[in-house]
């Protein structure tokens, strides 16, 4: 869609068009998603003959990246709410719509992909107005593919989105809504000028950090960078100050003039809070430093990624990393492996628990292996989320069953239409992060969608279940689970590991234990036969080549004590399967 707007307004010549111009990462193009918000300035001459400057910020849609959405919204006057004409309103459509309304923006509903055979714009328009109000006939119908409706959309944008309402004569206030690191130019900030003006060469001050710098270069993205002398009220562009360390620029900070300072900073943002934690370990222990450097570099462009060193007896030295969600986790891991040529083992994702110790102090536990002993703790609290699930009404039963199984608390039901309903539940985050979404999709033939937001902590009867391989506890497999589910969990885990761990030279017992008490046991029986029946004079060269290939093709394994464990076992052990 963004591509089509760029093309229609002449920002990109037809001959330069390629798919997903604003999604510059390979991963974004491959997966057809947006991970980083991107900004571009468009010039548009309306049907009224007037020239308009439109600043477009393209945001991600996935729940993991709602933080990117929220801070982009703070830099806008209006929001274009795009819904797929075939899929209809999704949970994240709802979440993003509410966010835009809360931010006081003019929301312009539009339905994309009306060229699809399965498109049902009438139904989707109905659903959209049920959320944001208005007239279903006023919802713009368009097709980014054919270009149909794009002109109408642009007209609606200039008609409905109010012009920026800043004060040109007031001291400079510009909101930093994004930043990234460029190897040649250092930190590049994306800013929106709210009051006053920002000029090249101006001495500026970051209000939160209190640092003074010079605006060495300012400009706009069209989408290529184009340096300008001045950015005025309402304009969106980039700012370069020569700062090389990304941590010295805080997204959400306000830029003002170093001498003529604004009194009040603009409302900023909360730091993004990781929802999910996972350990990342190099398969080859010697790559630890390489991993550290890769994480440092990745963080330059992804401030939401947090990490700290972690030591595992089973996996050696690595990092405990915090992610916004599972997709974020998957993407970070893939980028590390791909862009930094690393071979990683990821441990099962976990959430952060608050543990009240016997001395009354409260500690945050991001890794099950750090959980204090039962004698040292009074209680464990786990994070909850408010989950919004949008589903065709016929799946409400199976979804309620799933949510109840996951210790969820059933809340409101809100009908968007006679066929679609919004369910509002409170569920422990730990029950959501791993396979909940997959299960939800499979129980609803893919029709349900999910969005969630943090909803505080609650005390729960939680225990740590350890997994022992060949009699040795493997810290990377430990998990915090509800007491009532511990036996089932232990049984499932040992059963899955028995299938995931290949047979070895000796029997490998797999046990699950709470404290010292074994709650389930399985055994991977030793390989008994691994031999070529015939190897005579005519077979030697061929067998040699065959065995050589087998050795090289052997799956990536991690030695855990004396046991070879496939890398994927650390995460796959917790994944839903077809059983």
């Amino acid at each position: 869609m963004a591509d089509r707007l760029l093309q229609r307004t002449g920002a990109v010549a037809d001959r330069d068009m390629k798919e997903q111009i604003l999604d510059s990462m390979d991963l974004e193009r491959e997966r057809g998603i947006t991970i980083k918000a991107q900004t571009v300035r468009l010039d548009y001459r309306g049907n009224d003959g007037q020239d308009y400057i439109l600043n477009l910020i393209d945001t991600p849609g996935h729940v993991d990246f709602s933080y990117e959405v929220s801070r982009s919204l703070a830099a806008c006057e209006g929001a274009l709410l795009l819904t797929d004409a075939a899929q209809g309103v999704q949970a994240q459509t709802l979440a993003n719509a509410y966010m835009a309304i809360d931010a006081g923006l003019e929301v312009i509903p539009a339905i994309n992909k009306i060229d699809l055979p399965a498109a049902d714009p009438e139904r989707v328009a109905e659903e959209m107005v049920n959320i944001i109000g208005g007239d279903p006939d006023a919802v713009v119908r368009l097709s980014a593919k054919t270009g149909e409706g794009v002109d109408e959309l642009l007209e609606e944008l200039v008609r409905l989105v109010p012009p920026p309402a800043g004060d040109l004569s007031a001291p400079l206030r510009a909101l930093i809504f994004d930043s990234y690191y460029d190897a040649y130019r250092g930190v590049v900030c994306h800013v929106k000028v709210v009051d006053g003006s920002l000029s090249a060469g101006q001495k500026i001050r970051f209000m939160a950090t209190g640092e003074n710098h010079e605006a060495t270069e300012i400009g706009v993205l069209t989408p290529g960078a184009k340096a300008l002398k001045t950015l005025g009220v309402g304009e969106v562009g980039y700012l370069i100050t020569g700062i090389k360390e990304i941590d010295r620029v805080r997204v959400g900070d306000t830029v003002t003039d170093a001498s003529v300072r604004a009194v009040e900073p603009l409302p900023g943002y909360d730091e993004p809070k990781p929802m999910v934690y996972s350990g990342l370990f190099p398969t080859d222990g010697a790559d630890f430093e390489k991993l550290r450097e890769a994480l440092e570099k990745l963080r330059l462009n992804d401030a939401s990624l947090v990490y700290e060193p972690e030591t595992s007896r089973a996996l050696g030295f690595g990092f405990r990393c915090g992610f916004l969600g599972l997709l974020h986790m998957e993407i970070v891991r893939e980028r590390l492996e791909r862009e930094y040529d690393l071979d990683l083992v990821a441990t099962a994702p976990s959430v952060a628990y608050q543990v009240t110790k016997t001395d009354g102090s409260v500690v945050e536990i991001k890794s099950p292996q750090d959980l204090p002993e039962p004698t040292d703790r009074q209680s464990i609290s786990e994070p909850y989320v408010r989950a919004m699930i949008l589903t065709p009404t016929e799946y409400v039963g199976p979804i309620m069953e799933l949510v109840t199984n996951r210790r969820g608390e059933v809340g409101n039901m809100n009908y968007l239409s006679s066929e679609r309903v919004e369910l509002d539940y409170k569920i422990p985050l730990g029950e959501v992060v791993f396979d909940f979404f997959d299960l939800l999709k499979s129980k609803t033939k893919g029709y349900a969608s999910l969005d969630y937001e943090p909803a505080g902590y609650r005390v729960a009867n939680l225990v740590k279940v350890d997994i022992l391989l060949n009699g040795q506890a493997v810290d990377a497999f430990s998990a915090v689970v509800h007491r009532d589910k511990a036996e089932d969990y232990g049984k499932t885990m040992t059963g899955r590991l028995r299938k995931l761990i290949p047979r070895q030279l000796f029997d490998v017992p797999i046990q699950a234990a709470i404290g010292g008490k074994i709650i389930s046991r399985e055994t991977v029986k030793a390989t008994r036969k691994d031999v070529t029946a015939k190897c005579y004079g005519g077979d030697i060269s061929r067998k040699k080549k065959l065995l050589q290939r087998q050795k090289e093709g052997k799956k990536r394994m991690k030695m855990v004590g004396s046991v070879e464990v496939p890398q994927e076992a650390f995460v796959a052990a917790l994944r839903v399967d077809d059983e």
């Binding site: 070895q504 030279l505 000796f506 030793a526 390989t527 008994r528 036969k529 691994d530 031999v531 070529t532 029946a533 015939k534 190897c535 005579y536 004079g537 005519g538 077979d539 030697i540 060269s541 040699k544 065995l547 050589q548 087998q550 050795k551 004396s562």
Partner: protein, 382 residues
């Protein structure tokens, strides 16, 4: 350890029909080419640089017994003329029970053969049918008795275990009946599904594949019963009465050199492994045109490679190999330590051997991964 012995292999590709599990270079319905093929082999032998006198000749196939004894005799004579045959050299022939009679046995003896290896495979007619064999169980005993009566003093039987559908009882009875023929030597092979064979295609399409755990049970049963009968295992798949180990194959496993003739035959000479053209017609054409029948050749095994090759071929023997630099390197390696701890390999009195023969490939993969950089020829095998 270079063996003093030198052997020779001759391939005879003709079969009455091709068994569904077989991935050797064989042909059926081409018996009209037998004479032409004999001439080609004799031609190839006569053109070869003379080797030192041969301690063994092994004619395998295919079904070499498809070739009349006189033709086979011509080949044996040609080998003797070109290289010389050592005193008491082992002259061995693979034969099928389906077409073995007293006249054949007498003819083979007259042609110089002193060892017969019967492709018995099973004494269960149901399994024989499943394996696509053309003989019945009763013919095996009769063939062995016929060979014995004609004067053969070294008789071997080949068996296949772990065919899907085979029961413990069927295998047990096959072992009983094999032992009852009083063989001097027995080879037992786990049925192996080779890609590209009719069996391979069936399994790929969903037919039951042999179960490795069942095959392990069968192997253990075989080892127990054969050793009780006085047949001692000397290689992964081979058992014999003392002194009846196959000389030709022992030469191969001791890294000895061997000549080879016929289509798809493999030789090892001057530390170099090479192989003949695989297809019958190509082979015949090349020889008849006076051209070389060699289709390809590995590079000469030097230093570390030669040492690794020594372990690779030698560790299949029950006795193992003198440890040497390669063995020491294996024992010191991470893989080697694991294999030792799991009781797969053991070193006793300077010999390294495999104690869990069914895990041989795991050991050999580790051997192939050894880094013996810096080892030169003088160190190898000492």
């Amino acid at each position: 350890m270079m063996s003093e012995r030198i052997g020779s292999y001759v391939h005879v590709p003709f079969c009455s029909a091709v068994c569904p599990y077989c991935d050797f270079a064989v042909v059926s319905g081409r018996d009209d080419q037998l004479g032409r093929y004999r001439d080609a082999v004799v031609n190839e032998i006569s053109r070869d640089d003379p080797w030192e006198s041969l301690e063994s000749v092994y004619i395998g196939g295919g079904t070499p017994s498809r070739m009349p004894p006189e033709m086979l005799g011509t080949i044996v004579s040609a080998l003797g003329d070109q290289h010389g045959l050592g005193e008491g050299a082992e002259i061995s022939l693979e034969a099928n029970p389906e077409d073995f009679d007293a006249a054949t046995a007498d003819g083979l003896l007259a042609s110089g053969f002193n060892r017969i290896s019967f492709g018995a495979q099973s004494f269960d007619n149901k399994i024989l049918l499943q394996l696509g064999r053309r003989h019945e169980a009763d013919q095996i005993g009769r063939s062995v008795a016929t060979a014995r009566a004609s004067g053969f003093e070294n008789i071997s039987i080949d068996l296949i275990y772990g065919t899907p559908g085979e029961t413990d009882q069927s295998w047990s009875s096959t072992l009983d009946r094999a032992i009852a023929t009083d063989p001097d030597h027995v080879s037992c092979y786990a049925l192996t599904v080779e890609p590209g064979t009719p069996l391979g295609r069936e399994v790929k399409a969903g037919a039951p594949a042999p179960d490795p755990d069942v095959q392990a049970d069968r192997f253990e049963a075989a080892d127990r019963r054969l050793s009780e009968a006085g047949l001692k295992r000397y290689e992964v798949s081979n058992w014999s009465r003392p002194g009846y180990e196959c000389v030709y194959n022992s030469t191969v496993w001791a890294q000895g050199e061997y000549a080879a003739y016929g289509n798809s035959a493999h030789r090892f000479r001057d530390r170099t492994r090479s192989r003949n053209l695989s297809r019958l017609d190509q082979y015949l054409g090349a020889i008849e045109e006076g051209e070389s029948a060699i289709a390809g050749s590995d590079s000469r095994l030097e230093g570390a490679e030669f040492e690794i090759d020594r372990l690779f071929v030698g560790l299949r023997r029950t006795i193992g190999v003198p440890t040497g630099p390669g063995g020491r390197s294996l024992l010191d390696s991470f893989d080697g330590q694991r294999l030792l701890a799991a009781g797969v390999i053991v070193e006793v009195d300077g010999w390294l051997r495999i104690d869990r023969p069914l895990m041989t490939d795991e050991v050999l993969r580790s051997v192939l991964a050894l880094d013996l950089a810096g080892l030169d020829d003088d160190d190898a095998g000492t």
